[in-house]
């Protein structure tokens, strides 16, 4: 793996707790790379190892061909935007941004003009002489960015930089961050637990769980073709089906007998060359399933199920249906179709193309407790949200 920034076989324990076990990956130059995972998955530790604030028990960190594993933080050409920004409270914004160049002993005039430049970049020139406590969250975030970028790092590390902001601001900052990245073009390593953040900003995403990388790739690939149940459940919503392969229909498709749905069968794309009799676990995204009150037109590659409505949740931009088929609850997400909401039929037809079902590599039964609740049993909506 030859990348710009490479992590090679990184392991780390805190006491007896393993935080990272043999993690390897590399980041391409100039890309935004996200480490995504639930809290405690080791993503922040990985970032701190990169910054030099933590040292790995084993493994190397290679940056631009140089081994930086044993360098102290102040000798590394990387800078961090910390989760709580860690702005120096006793210094003005100007002094905060000037901190790096000052300890670097750059000439005074150069520092002044650089600081002005970065203040302008973050549009905070008029706030230069305020203290951090007088700024809003979004402003502090921008100052933290400028303070890191003024040192011309080769890699910018961002540790949940938007976690402290409210939703609207988060979305705006995300766009700003993306524009900033396009402008300066350095490598970003972005740590977050928020899948939508990771999806929208990254060139590549590594989904982490319990100290390992479950899956790595472009956001679309991770969303569309999750390899493990953890990834499927962590990134967006999904439906899980357990079943047994009954028949290989042709080279590409196989027929699966579903466990919880009586004698229902499902056609899935068979990219793993399964054999009849194999047990499989399949994930289907709620928005990939079509829903209608009338029987849909049949198609050889279409799976059609009939079910009863359990609940309909109106969510503004879309509507979520909980449909019971046998013992399985299936969630379906659709843009509004007025007739479904108005007429409130109790019986629905579900249909999805065989290509939209994904066979998961490993289905960690033991890990079910870690998964979002709707993986094992769909979460019952609260009464207040119920469609009347």
């Amino acid at each position: 793996m030859a990348g710009f920034l490479s992590f090679e076989n990184i392991s780390k324990k805190f006491g007896r707790q393993t935080v990272l076990s043999d993690v390897s990956f590399s980041v391409e130059k100039g890309k935004i790379f996200s480490l995504l995972g639930p809290s405690g998955c080791g993503k922040t530790t990985l970032l701190r190892i990169c910054a030099g604030l933590e040292s790995p028990d084993s493994g190397r960190v290679i940056l631009d061909g140089k081994d930086i594993t044993d360098l102290v933080p102040n000798d590394r050409p990387v800078n961090t935007v910390f989760q709580n920004y860690a702005l120096f409270p006793h210094m003005t914004i100007w002094e905060n941004i000037a901190f790096g160049p000052r300890v670097d002993k750059r000439p005074k005039q150069e520092i002044a003009s650089e600081v002005e430049k970065y203040l302008e970049m973050i549009q905070m020139t008029s706030h230069a002489y305020k203290k951090p406590a007088q700024l809003s969250g979004g402003m502090r975030q921008r100052v933290a960015l400028a303070r890191a970028l003024i040192n011309h790092p080769q890699v910018l590390l961002l540790d949940e930089p938007l976690a402290a902001l409210d939703l609207k601001l988060r979305q705006r900052m995300l766009v700003e961050l993306d524009e900033l990245h396009d402008k300066i073009g350095i490598t970003f390593v972005y740590v977050t637990h928020d899948q939508s953040e990771a999806m929208s900003i990254s060139d590549d995403v590594a989904v982490m769980n319990r100290g390992i990388i479950e899956q790595m790739g472009p956001p679309a690939e991770i969303y569309e073709a999750p390899k493990s149940s953890f990834v499927a459940a962590f990134i967006g919503d999904t439906n899980f089906f357990d079943g047994t392969v009954t028949e290989i229909t042709d080279n590409d498709y196989s027929r699966v007998q579903l466990e919880n749905m009586g004698n229902q069968q499902m056609l899935i794309f068979n990219d793993r060359r399964l054999n009849a009799g194999d047990g499989v676990h399949v994930s289907i995204r709620p928005e990939k399933i079509d829903i209608s009150a009338e029987p849909p037109a049949t198609d050889r590659k279409k799976n059609i199920l009939k079910g009863h409505v359990e609940d309909i949740i109106y969510m503004g931009n879309s509507t979520k249906f909980w449909i019971r088929v046998g013992r399985q609850l299936i969630s379906v997400q659709k843009q509004h179709s007025a007739f479904l909401l108005d007429q409130k039929p109790i019986r629905f037809w579900l249909a999805w193309h065989a290509d939209n079902g994904y066979i998961l590599d490993n289905y960690q039964d033991a890990d079910r407790s870690l998964l979002p609740i709707n993986v094992t049993e769909p979460q019952k909506p609260e009464k207040g949200h119920k469609q009347k």
Binding site: P73, N84, A86, H90, V103, Q134
Partner: protein
């Protein structure tokens, strides 16, 4: 209406403490100041009429020397206390919670013994016939004719010993609240450990350092027992002079004048601190009205 009743409520609640402070602090302080302006007769009685003679006498070179000595002993012991306390606090906050508690208790434990007894203990340790001097002579660290007691350095030592906890506690409290991720941010931005300590940690605990400074300097300024017991006659401080004027010289107005001098130094210091706070807050205000 509501505001008014709230104000009245606050007044009622604060009355007892205000009364206490008025009766036992403000009135005595003002009387000391007033007495210092009265003349005394030869028996030390307070006479009527106003005079500045008591203060004029303080300007005599003999006394100026004592004022000067009091100031520098207090300043040096304060400096030593703070310089010792900062690393202690820095170390303590890095400890585990249980160790932290143990260390805190160990700092407070000396207070379980009476202050006078602790000073006597120093006297015993440093006694000319005591073991410490004996050993030091044996090891050729000091010459046989050196006395450990009754010099200015012993006064400094015992003052530092006595007031060190008063410096450690507020500085520890400030350091405990200090956000150490700021240190990481400083390292990340290229600062060495040394630089981060001086540029980020010290300013970050400045409130604790100021509090510790005042907590040591003010009582050190009024030291009486320590110079009296371990300092001997050559190390008199203002406190000893006041005691001498009251107990031996029986000149209450002059003693009051001395006390007033100490009071003014302390008020001056607190005033400086207050001005600093006000200026800092004032700088804050205009910006707050801006669009934040």
């Amino acid at each position: 209406m509501r505001k008014l009743s709230k104000a009245i409520n606050e007044m009622i609640i604060s009355t007892p403490s205000l009364l206490w402070l008025t009766v036992f602090f403000l009135i005595p302080t003002v009387s000391v100041l007033l007495i210092s302006l009265h003349p005394a007769d030869q028996y030390g009685n307070i006479m009527s009429g106003f005079t500045a003679d008591n203060f004029k006498r303080l300007m005599e070179p003999v006394y100026m020397k004592i004022i000067w000595r009091t100031l520098w002993i207090s300043a040096v012991s304060t400096l030593v206390c703070v310089v010792l306390a900062v690393p202690v606090a820095y170390y303590m906050v890095a400890c585990r919670e249980s160790v932290k508690k143990c260390l805190l208790i160990m700092i407070i434990v000396p207070f379980w013994t009476n202050f006078l007894i602790r000073v006597f203990a120093w006297k015993a340790v440093l006694n000319p016939e005591g073991p410490l001097r004996h050993w030091l002579i044996q090891l050729h660290i000091i010459s046989p004719d050196t006395l450990l007691l009754y010099n200015i350095y012993v006064v400094l030592l015992v003052i530092v010993y006595t007031y060190l906890p008063f410096a450690i506690l507020p500085i520890f409290a400030a350091a405990d609240k200090f956000d150490f991720s700021l240190m990481e941010a400083a390292y990340d931005l290229g600062a060495t450990r040394r630089k981060a300590f001086f540029k980020i940690f010290l300013p970050g605990i400045s409130s604790g350092i100021t509090a510790g400074t005042l907590m040591v300097f003010i009582p050190a300024l009024g030291s009486y027992v320590i110079p009296e017991m371990v300092g001997g006659t050559s190390c008199d401080m203002v406190g000893n002079l006041i005691a001498e004027r009251v107990l031996v010289g029986r000149n209450i107005p002059e003693a009051s004048a001395w006390a007033s001098v100490l009071l003014m130094v302390i008020i001056g210091l607190l005033g400086l601190r207050l001005t600093y706070i006000i200026i800092n807050n004032f700088r804050f205000k205009p910006w707050d009205n801006g669009k934040v």
